[in-house]
């Protein structure tokens, strides 16, 4: 029996040398898409599939640079509130509908329609509407000046109007992308096939099957057993045991936000000491086996617009930290350290390691690991601000407005300071459409945040993917699983 199979395999291999072999791969992702409607949910599983079916006006290169996709070129800003996009011509949706200005206008209006209650409004909240100029030109308007609009259009997937109205968008997706929907056995798997008519040429891999495996150990086993070709979120300690892996700096940066109005942490000397106390290099090595980059003095994603590359990471200087704590008269004082467990890579380990470093310099940290919804309430609720709270901040749009508005702006949901001057700078940066002026505003904001130690930035975390021997793929900085960028050697 085995011999026969072997013979058959050899035969198949020799045949494939002459005929074109249909190449199919299997990718194991952590969660099943909740729906295949690309405009409703903020769902990683849905994106991992739909990123291959649908496209956006702008895209990013694997390194994170914004480039035209369904737009023929980068948008022109007509006035403070209006951006004009020229569209790529001759593109059609998988169901045959043409991609044109009407489709863009429909897609924009659908996602911002309050009736649809889209969770993605968090990304598109500034968009007021869209109007058609001619068949290949669309103007998108914003409620206020919005320099991030191009990045937003990298996030908004374009749907086919007729299909969205009459078809079943949640179960039968039809986009313009390099892969077409084939089937979805809920709970089990989901299959896509190459779109031979894609405007950018047919992709190399003919068929891709997604499997949904929550447990990282099971994903690893499936890879080792040869069932999967790509698995997501490989733990650093497993890199040694997989056939192949690839790591790339990801979207998340871990950080502690400090309560600058709280009793102990209101003293800048204490906050500086909290930063100097931590041996980040040692943590990156021991917790992440080197698959984490020490954040440089602020927690903005290094690929994001507005990242201040002049800042240096806080040095590890426990002696000076101890001296600062004594000088501030904070020795033996309690600080509350808040966090959660299991949501982000090694979250609990990071929190506990940092608390241990803080204990070394004479403080008495009290660690509270909270259940996630309770944690969210501590992070963003109306209650008193915690002395220090952990978060792995993700920056999907790769624009520093995310970190600035969320954590540094005094009215931001997760902010723990009351710095009106800084809030003013951030407000200004948010509406400044001049690129250089905006960049320099952000540089000043993060410099100030660094000098006053508003946060304790830790690491830019890496995304690690496990791969089978035959896979060839360089993962992207925006964590998108683009099958068209993958290939297999056989």
């Amino acid at each position: 029996m085995f011999k026969h199979m072997l013979a058959a395999a050899v035969l198949a291999a020799s045949l494939s040398a002459e005929t074109v072999l249909a190449q199919s791969i299997t990718i194991a992702i952590g969660s099943e898409p909740s729906t295949l409607d690309p405009q409703l949910r903020d769902d990683g599983g849905e994106r991992q599939v739909n990123d291959n079916i649908y496209e956006t006006l702008l895209a990013r290169t694997p390194e994170g640079e914004l480039v035209p996709s369904l737009a023929a070129e980068m948008p022109k800003q007509v006035d403070d509130l209006t951006w004009e996009f020229n569209l790529r011509q001759g593109v059609s949706f998988h169901n045959g509908e043409p991609f044109n200005a009407d489709a863009v206008v429909y897609s924009v209006k659908r996602v911002i329609d309050p009736k649809n209650n889209s969770e993605q409004l968090a990304y598109f909240g500034t968009i007021a509407g869209a109007e058609k100029v001619d068949d290949d030109t669309v103007r998108i308007t914003t409620t206020g000046p919005d320099p991030i609009l191009p990045s937003r259009m990298y996030w908004m997937k374009m749907v086919a109007p007729k299909h969205a109205e009459e078809g079943d968008l949640a179960a039968q997706p039809a986009g313009t992308g390099p892969y077409r929907f084939v089937s979805w056995n809920r709970g089990a798997d989901l299959t896509l096939e190459a779109n031979p008519d894609h405007w950018d040429g047919a992709p190399e891999i003919d068929q891709v099957t997604y499997r949904f495996v929550t447990e990282p150990g099971t994903r690893l086993s499936g890879l080792m057993a040869g069932e999967f070709d790509v698995i997501t979120n490989l733990l650093p300690e497993f890199t040694a045991s997989v056939p192949k892996f690839a790591a790339v700096s990801g979207l998340e940066t871990s950080v502690f936000v400090l309560g600058t109005d709280n009793e102990v942490t209101s003293d800048p000397r204490v906050r500086e000491a909290l930063n100097l106390a931590i041996d980040r290099e040692a943590m990156a090595e021991s917790l992440f086996l080197g698959y984490a980059t020490v954040a440089k003095g602020h927690h903005v994603n290094p690929r994001a617009f507005g990242y201040n590359d002049q800042l240096q990471s806080y040095p590890y200087d426990p002696e000076r930290a101890k001296a600062l704590i004594e000088e501030a008269g904070a020795t033996g004082k309690t600080i509350g350290v808040y966090g959660e467990s299991g949501r982000w890579l090694k979250d609990r380990e990071q929190i506990e390691a940092v608390a241990a470093y803080w204990r070394e310099i004479g403080l008495a940290p009290e660690v509270h690991i909270e259940e996630f919804s309770q944690y969210l309430d501590t992070l963003m609720g109306d209650g008193p601000r915690p002395d220090a709270i952990f978060i792995a901040n993700s920056n999907e749009l790769l624009d520093a407005d995310r970190e600035a508005s969320f954590i540094y702006h005094k009215d931001g949901p997760a902010a723990s300071n009351s710095d009106a001057e800084m809030a003013e700078m951030i407000d200004k940066a948010r509406v400044t459409t001049d690129t250089e002026a905006r960049r320099s505003l952000y540089h000043d904001v993060f410099k100030k945040g660094h000098d006053l130690s508003y946060t304790v930035p830790l690491f830019n975390l890496h995304d690690i993917y496990g791969m089978s021997e035959r896979m060839e793929w360089q993962p992207r900085v925006d964590a998108k699983l683009m099958v068209k960028e993958m290939s297999v050697t056989e």
Binding site: E119, A122, F212, M380, I391
Partner: protein
């Protein structure tokens, strides 16, 4: 019998209602479902708008009345996470979980009776000691670990079975074994000890003296008396598995069951789906309890159901 079933159904309905209402209150009072659903970037206005769309900004009492009205029509609303009717999700996933339970617990039941009887025939003998030791090991091994161990041995090393997922009967073997291991150990130990007790009873001695064959004594006379406690424990196993013990196995083996779905619904703050799941499970458990009572009566007519 009929009035008994009716009365139990009525009591069961109260239990189901009580459980569902507890979930209703707990999900709304503790934690904020909206902040779990929306990305962290969402602004306060967006959160408020979202809460308004799903009706969470109304007073709790108003929400409660609406909930009760829909409950009468068995309408649980749309799952926030899956954006489709919550009950549809339940009906899609429940059969997968039931299949897993039937396979796992079925295996445990079928294997535990012969194993327990063989061990009981010679208490203290080698087979008995082996059964007891293995049973204790089975009871003390965490399911999570056993599942991963099975995967590594049977799927990664021996490549006999798939690592995870659902589809062919081969996919069912490892998760069912993992799920059935603890009940198997517990049931075997129970059959063994009750059987030892029974075999020392006077009526067994009398039956033997009368010259009845061993298989008839064991299979008809002793087993019937063991069966009541066996069934009680089996029912308890079934209920505890249904009430959440499949979560671990479903997670490890990526089995698309209701346990895994419930877990994800909790993580995502999907209160409508949670309500539908808890209601369905509570309803099933009530039915199982009634069925067990009837089965007791059939095995031992002396039991008074009233």
């Amino acid at each position: 019998m009929g009035s008994f079933i009716l009365r139990r159904l009525w009591q069961g309905l109260l239990v189901v209602l009580g459980v569902t209402l507890t979930v209703f209150v707990v999900t709304r009072v503790f934690g904020d479902p909206v902040s779990l659903m929306l990305p962290l970037t969402a602004t306060a206005e967006q959160r408020a708008a979202f809460a308004h769309e799903i009706g969470l900004d109304r007073p709790l009492l108003v929400q409660f009345l609406g909930f009760m009205r829909d409950l009468v029509a068995l309408d649980f609303g749309n799952s926030l996470w899956q954006r489709r009717p919550a009950i549809e999700v339940v009906f899609e996933r429940l059969p997968n979980t039931l299949l897993l339970i039937v396979a796992g617990l079925g295996f445990a039941i079928l294997a535990s009776i012969p194993l327990g009887i063989i061990a009981a025939l010679r208490p203290g003998g080698i087979v008995d000691r082996l059964t007891v030791s293995l049973g204790l090991i089975g009871l003390s091994m965490p399911q999570f670990w056993v599942g991963l161990l099975f995967i590594v041995i049977f799927a990664v090393q021996l490549k006999l079975l798939p690592t995870s997922g659902m589809g062919t009967p081969a996919h069912l073997i490892l998760p069912a074994l993992t799920l059935g291991l603890t009940p198997l150990a517990r049931l075997t130990l129970l059959v063994r000890s009750s059987m030892i007790d029974e075999l020392n009873q006077q009526y067994i001695k009398a039956a033997r003296a009368k010259g009845l064959g061993l298989s008839r004594i064991l299979g008809v006379h002793a087993l019937r008396n063991v069966l009541i406690s066996f069934l009680t424990l089996t029912g308890w196993e079934l209920i505890s598995i249904l009430a959440g013990y499949t979560v671990v196995v479903e997670t490890v083996f990526a089995w698309p069951g209701l346990g895994l779905t419930a877990m994800q619904a909790i993580q995502r703050g999907d209160l409508f789906l949670m309500q539908a799941i808890v209601f369905s499970i509570a309803f099933l458990i009530v039915l199982i309890n009634i069925a067990l009572d009837i089965a007791f009566k059939m095995i031992d007519p002396r039991i008074n159901l009233n």
